[in-house]
Amino acid sequence: MSETTNILVVGIGGQGVMTATEILAEAAIALGHDAKKTEVAGMAQRGGVVSSHLRFGKRVLSPQITPGTADILLGFEAAEGMRWRHMLRPDGQALMNVGRLTPPVVDLGLYEYPADPVASVRAAGTRVVAFDATSIALGLGEIRLGNTVMLGAISSYLPFPAEVLEAAVLKRFATRKPALLELNRRAFAAGRDAAANASAEELAAAVAG
């Protein structure tokens, strides 16, 4: 990775995209990096598109990630991952939740939901690690664990140890909601495992294919 690491976190309002990016930033800052985080989220609360930019490194100037320069794309929703794929650099890594949230414009029949967002992103030449963060979160008993699952998934792809990110996640809950500490620890591990498994499968398929 270049001197500045660019991470784009995308999803829809209410999924915890901004909080997840904030935690990623806290981890980078804890390691002594300069960091800037930005998003356009004026209407995020209304189920609209949210894209949160995190840049960290020695010194960060512009807060926005230039299209085609993101190192990692973390997609909280399948079609949203697809929507922002062009932001990745040519050899960038997409990490995509396959969970879908259809907006009213799709339910009204005005637009079609893409048949297979992950396949579309791969067909465009991007490396994708895809997993079902929504089901993992529900399996742990709470949809809101989804953003911790997503952070677990990205933790092995960062230019710093996964434990630093895990510590940043757990620090939040240790002070604010200690009762949720253990559940988030499990969600983080489950996300990390899911990404590792998906990555291994992708590799096996590539070798076989």
Binding site: D34, V40, A41, Q64, M82, R83, H86, P103, K177, A179
Partner: protein
Amino acid sequence: MATASSMIPAPAQSRLFMSGNDAVSRAVWDAGVRVAAAYPGTPSTEMLEVLSTYPDIYTEWSVNEKVSLEVAFGASMAGSRAFCAMKHVGVNVASDALMTLTLTGVKGGLVLAVADDVGLSSSQNEQDSRTWGRFAHIPVLEPADSQEAYDFTLAAFDLSERFQTPVLLRLTTRICHVKALVTVGERKTYPAAGFTKESTRWVMVPGHAARRLPLLFEREKALAVASAESALNFIDDGSDRRVGFIATGPAAMHVREAFPDAPLFKLGFAYPAPIERLREFAASVDKLVVVEEIEPLLENELKAAGIAVSGKDILPRIGELAPNVLKPAVAGLLGETLPASQVAAPLPVFPRPPTMCVACPHLGVYYTLSQVKNVTVAGDIGCYTLGAGHPWNALDACISMGASMGMALGLDKGRGEADADRRIVAVIGDSTFMHMGMQGLLDIVYNRGNVTVLLLDNRAVGMTGGQNNPGNGRDIHNNPAPQIDFESLVKALGVREERVHVVNPYELPTLFKRLREETKIPEPSVIITNQPCVLVQDYQPKSPFMVEEDRCTGCGSCVDIGCPAIHVTRRDTVQKPNGKEVARSFVRIETAACTGCGLCLQPCAPKAIVPAAVAAKVHVLQQH
């Protein structure tokens, strides 16, 4: 949301990850400001929200931006440092006060932070608030990141008191909503100096104002000298002198990123600009580009001073600037060609516009409006502007806060023959009504307009995150406050008692009946809906519903409500006995999202929507 208790501010020298809004708030507190006021508006809202959590400072949500500026001005006359924050369009409202308080000048330091929504993330227009600095002859400071937002706010208070002028702190979305590291300082206190009676200073009648005018221009000259000497304006030099840049605000960051070796004159104290220093800088580079968001204000001033510059001739006039916007523009200026872009085109994905929330009380209103024939709906600013979208398409105009009232009256008075039977409806939210709608309703009453007003009282400033207002009986700290009664208010404005109705917007037949009746009666009427925003504390969720699959006939009527918890599972078309093809949409309800408002049950003829047998929602977290 503001909380009732104050937080303990981080100690001086703390290095904090702060948004520009957070940083301004901390600086306002550190500057010893005693009074701060605002009306919420994206991207400015968090400044007052955060300030309200600091101790030893009076903060308020004002009813509109003009009042907030007047409150700040009053505090300044009393000798207190005062602060006021608003979004760009707020200044349009506050400008009447601004354009004369610039004449009186201030006593306690007064800083007006204006957040320009460059790129229109959540606004009805894009405007460059730096224009007000020129118009009102007041200094404009333009920070480029959170640390500068902190530092410049402190500098603004000093400048304000030194020159007895209000100071405009110009922020943009990429300052307000960008988080970066900030080192904060020590709080100082400035006791109020007290009000001094001085009518020639504070009472702006023509005779007094005429004597203040020359002082205004002397002040502006003195400010130009201060700008030339200011450390906020400096050269960040570079070795590649083919192109030099003059940049303000976040644009300076983009320049530095795109052209690391170019000489950059970074303007922080950007109006009045230090023209002679800029002229010297111009002479030191081959070509000069001014990089500013939005209008070519500085560019035109430099051109007027005879300095050759490029600017909006090569850069976009609209939207945000960024390194990838600057690079090709400057390459073109140098006659260079950049290597072919490696950036891929976006993959095609449906749009995902903002939607109304699950169970939002506005859903019932717009569903009903979409069922009424021959109606024109003058709309207003808030979540309910979304009524213009699918599936309702039931809002026909929206320009500015409170404008629904005047537009509706004009639509009535200006109607042609073809529209003789057209029903004119105005839709306005509670906060917007108190902000700037009340006067419009008074005008409708006074001038005998044939308008039906739907006053959507959801007891919050919903769009900006549910801030309190005089309609919900809570102040900025969430403490009890006097509560306005809308029914009495509209009657006091002259709407006849029989023409005022309070309706539960979840009761569709009642709402429809009232709307149909009132739009037929040729006089002003007001229908007040009385259910809270689902995002505020007053909202009480109920048990969710589900769809019994075998009973759903695919009629799609529930889909017309527009609730995001209703999803279509499959579609088909069938041929009716008369040969006509009918499209069917079979649905399910996302039970985990449904809060049981019951709106979708009402148009469901086969009664296929029933209480969810076993709540599928997993409540693990609720034990904690």
